[in-house]
Symmetry: C2
Subunit: 353 residues, 2 copies
């Protein structure tokens, strides 16, 4: 009877290295290395022999050693700025998908770490970037005064930012025009007849918080409605945060007839809060979001939102980063995309004036 689980006690018993092949073929380590790398200064005969022996022995280059020597890792890093221990935010998922696939296309690996913003946020960056584990880093969800940008600029590691920061330095970024986005979205609700439009903003250290808020404000002022700060509350970008913020807004008298959230996740939270109060989203109170995450489409009712091409942005920043790493020139160092209004049922019907 065959005993099937005599687990290998020897972990990775004897790993085959260049030296193994050298000894097997009688050539030097140098020649083996150069043969496998395809240099022209090794005879065709020997190259063949070496390649065959390597294959036969199941040789796999030790990437760590190669990285150490070449000072190059073929890896891009991404440190998710996550507060709670979960990063299953659909926004990040989508972004991650774009980044990951683009990296794979360029035969780069992706190293992911998480680190909450805060005093020791830079620790993670120092460990990954300063430790030379990656050739470049992606920075997402840029903040007003972003220490990560400062740090990376200081140590001179290639990086690309999703979002913008209020710094004097120049750095490559991709961003979506949030000011315009919220202007368009707010106008949409105004056009439907709404006059009391609540807004759930984002934490003020995030750059996009200001931009989106001022788009909202401009739309109101241009329409002669005027900005009322009582209609603005701040949420933490989560679904739960959106629900809480909505409760505050709904406690106003008279209550807003429409609520816009700075991102879709909070808007979904708004819809939950409405339901809990016995109100029907899109009928009793109109709801709008920002992002265009997949969930927005399948919510009930489907959510009116400003779509930003998150997946494509992920691809793009990754591609830009890889170009930078390779020392190529970036045709566009600063990309500002336009979000697109997607009208769905959460907007509700025009209301009588």
């Amino acid at each position: 009877m065959l005993v099937v689980w005599d687990m290998p006690k020897t972990r990775r018993s004897e790993h085959v290295t260049l030296k193994t092949i050298a000894e097997a073929t009688g050539y030097s380590v140098t020649t083996v290395s150069r043969a496998l790398a395809g240099y022209s200064d090794v005879a065709e005969r020997t190259r063949k022999l070496i390649v065959e022996t390597a294959e036969q022995l199941g040789y796999q280059p030790n990437i760590t050693a190669r990285q150490l020597r070449q000072k190059r890792t073929n890896t891009v890093g991404l440190i998710l700025p996550t507060f709670s221990p979960r990063f299953s935010d659909p926004f990040f998922s989508e972004l991650l998908a774009g980044i990951g696939n683009q990296a794979a296309l360029s035969r780069y690996d992706l190293l992911i770490s998480t680190q909450a913003p805060g005093p020791d946020e830079l620790e993670a960056y120092r460990r990954i970037a300063g430790g030379q584990r990656v050739d470049g880093l992606l920075i997402v969800r840029a903040r007003e005064q972003d220490p990560r940008i400062k740090y990376l600029q200081e140590i001179g590691l290639p990086f690309v930012v999703f979002g913008r920061s209020h710094l004097d330095q120049d750095y490559p970024y991709v961003d979506v025009n949030g000011e315009l986005g919220l202007h368009v979205l707010t106008k949409h609700f105004i056009g439907l007849g709404h006059r009391r439009i609540g807004y759930i903003s984002a934490p003020p250290d995030l750059t996009f918080a200001h931009l989106r808020l001022s788009g909202y404000r401009r739309a109101l002022e241009e329409s002669g409605i005027g900005y009322d700060e009582r209609l603005v509350v701040i949420g933490d970008l989560t679904r739960r945060g959106g629900a809480q913020a909505a409760e505050n807004l709904l406690a106003l008298d008279p209550r807003p007839t429409a609520i816009i959230a700075a991102n879709d996740l909070m808007a979904l939270g708004v819809m939950e809060a409405l339901r809990r109060k016995g109100l029907e989203p899109g009928k009793d109170v109109a709801v709008g979001g920002f992002d265009g995450v997949p969930e927005s489409e399948f919510a009930s009712p489907p959510l009116t939102t400003m779509r930003q091409p998150i997946y494509e942005i992920g691809q793009r920043i990754c591609q830009m980063l890889i170009r930078l790493i390779n020392g190529e020139h970036l045709a566009e160092r600063h990309v500002l995309l336009q979000p697109e209004l997607i009208v769905r049922q959460s907007s509700g019907q025009p209301i009588p004036i």
Copy 2:
């Protein structure tokens, strides 16, 4: 006037290493290394001096070098078996979130790569695992005869599988009881009065495809309805695939009164297909899924499904893997979880008999 963008021409000009500190303090590289590592055989005075100088110079250990020497990377790997170039499947996102957060908790990094199943799938595994870039690997979406499991067992790298395979070997895994799951779900629809229940199965090389299918079959046979293979089609687990499969099922005469899909994404596709045909999901045709992805909750109508705790599974397999890497004993080497029936509106009302 200050010119703000004199970009650093020197990439990572002169990196400070142990040697730098050694020269600065007058001690040897050995002592510096041991001082920073907190060994007891270095005097308190010198340790302090060295630590201070290191801090002042902004020393960051080169992780690659450390990895090479220690033969340990503190990294777990995950290779996503993705066909299309996108992995924004909510199932993977959720799983990834669980894995990533658990890894972060244990101060491990996560290396992600993508590779479509197929003849050169193992290439990616050889590169990552054979190249000693990670201390262990996670295998997700196990297949009947899974070459990945065979390979990793062969080279003796620690790994944990999500799902099961039909192999003789013993290996650590976490899985969800799909047979039971589909039995419960099918019974649920039968209980509502359905007699013609279509089933959209998964690609047959995936182990769970068989298990879920046989759960469906057993429920039908136990209820005296009998298994009709014309009611079973195979989908590719995507939304689009689900929609196509649904079209085939709806072309039957008489058409099924309920359709169950092997995963939520396809079930969402079924609902789309129904709508396109002018049928109302949950009313004209009942729909059921499997997974419990967030989208299922916000679909309209919300989707009846067998929930599996994807996020927690991600955490768990990651934790098991890290235990294995550290040579710890696994209390449970084989974990089989029970999925939970979540009844939502896509089930529809009981139908008259």
